[in-house]
């Protein structure tokens, strides 16, 4: 039980355990003459493009909102804590929370734009174009989601520092807010890459 608990909490242990299991399985197949059965390309094609696309859209909005929420509670805790002594900071520092909210807006924009590409493929045979769309939506969704988690955390933690610096001295607010603005650019890069990747993808059901 100790062993399984350590797997759950230690990502390095989990990664090494799973890679050891995968290596053993791969070598077993290789040495018993079933090497062709370890076919990554088969699984990439066997998973339907509907699944790739839908998981991408879900991750786009889901992970973006995780990033935004993380940032918002990091800022909120600092504003409310410092606001006990210095109530004047509570209104101005809402701008940091709005920057975190923008991260979630990027996610929802991307999710809505991508969901316009979903549709019904009427004779159910997928062509190479459908797979292209599926893969691009999956990876774009993952890009915007994970970049927005990074951005939300950055804007949140620097926003919390902004609130504390503002509580100390009101003249510092704008100077320290600039750091959060630099951080919010990361989420915008994720949005740009996602829209570029899926720009050429054709709709399903076209």
């Amino acid at each position: 039980m100790q062993y399984y608990k350590s797997l759950a909490t230690n990502p390095a242990a989990l990664l090494s355990y799973t890679s050891a299991v995968v290596t053993v399985i791969a070598l077993y197949l290789l040495f018993t003459g079933y090497g062709e059965a370890f076919n990554v390309g088969y699984y990439l094609l066997a998973i339907s493009p509907y699944m790739w696309a839908s998981i991408g859209i879900g991750l786009a909005i889901g992970l973006s909102v995780v990033g935004a929420a993380w940032g918002i509670f990091a800022v909120g805790v600092s504003i409310l804590g410092a606001g006990v002594r210095v109530p004047r900071i509570t209104t101005k520092n809402l701008v940091s929370i709005i920057f975190c909210e923008a991260v979630a807006i990027y996610g929802i924009i991307v999710a809505i734009v991508f969901s316009a590409k979903l549709g019904n493929v009427s004779p159910l045979t997928f062509t190479a174009s459908h797979y292209y769309t599926g893969y691009s939506l999956f990876w774009s969704g993952l890009t915007v989601g994970l970049c927005n988690i990074a951005c939300g955390l950055t804007v949140g933690l620097t926003g919390s520092s902004t609130a504390l610096a503002d509580a100390h001295d009101a003249a510092l607010f704008v100077k320290v807010l600039v750091i959060g603005i630099f951080g919010s650019v990361i989420g915008m890069f994720g949005l740009i890459v996602a829209l570029l990747q899926t720009g050429k993808a054709a709709e399903f059901g076209a």
Binding site: Y131, W139, L157, L172, I186, V193, Q197
Partner: protein
């Protein structure tokens, strides 16, 4: 239309490269911005005149994210649904994305920690500024190496089906 050298799933690896370039460099840039930024806010409370000069680590962390953006755009510009795309190109683009991504993540991490200590030291003693900037430049150049290798790899991708 699909052949053994240009299978249908080749685009998966190309997109993986483009996405990983952006995701991993974003993670590095985010760490650098946050770590240095919190220090700048703290040091700014007792030396507000030095805040503008102390923003250098934050700017350099942002540049790491730009490296990832450049490679992502270059890789995804080479992919289209109707042009032939070989599995070789897919793997080359995956390698390019990983090279700039992992290098950028490490560079951002280093910029964050050096910026954190550098800003705190600079607020205490102005003579440390040049030393901090030199160390940040060396950390930034690590990400640049990843960008160079990614660009070299990208030129190697050919699409012969």
């Amino acid at each position: 239309m699909a052949s053994a050298t240009c299978p249908v799933y080749a685009h998966f690896f190309g997109f993986a490269g483009s996405s990983l370039a952006m995701i991993l460099t974003s993670a590095g840039a985010a760490y650098g911005t946050t770590k240095a930024g919190v220090s700048i806010a703290m040091a700014g409370t007792f030396r507000p005149d030095l805040i503008m000069k102390s923003l250098i680590p934050v700017v350099m962390a942002g540049i790491v994210a730009v490296y990832g953006l450049v490679i992502s755009v270059v890789i995804s510009g080479n992919m289209a649904p109707s042009t032939p795309y070989s599995l070789f190109s897919g793997f080359v683009h995956l390698g390019a994305g990983l090279s700039v991504g992992m290098a950028g993540m490490a560079a951002g991490y280093a910029i964050g920690i050096v910026g954190d200590a550098g800003v705190k030291g600079f607020a205490n003693s102005s003579k440390l500024f040049v030393g901090m900037v030199l160390m940040l430049i060396f950390a930034e150049v690590l990400g640049l190496y990843g960008l160079i290798v990614a660009l070299i790899l990208n030129t190697k991708a050919t699409n012969e089906c």
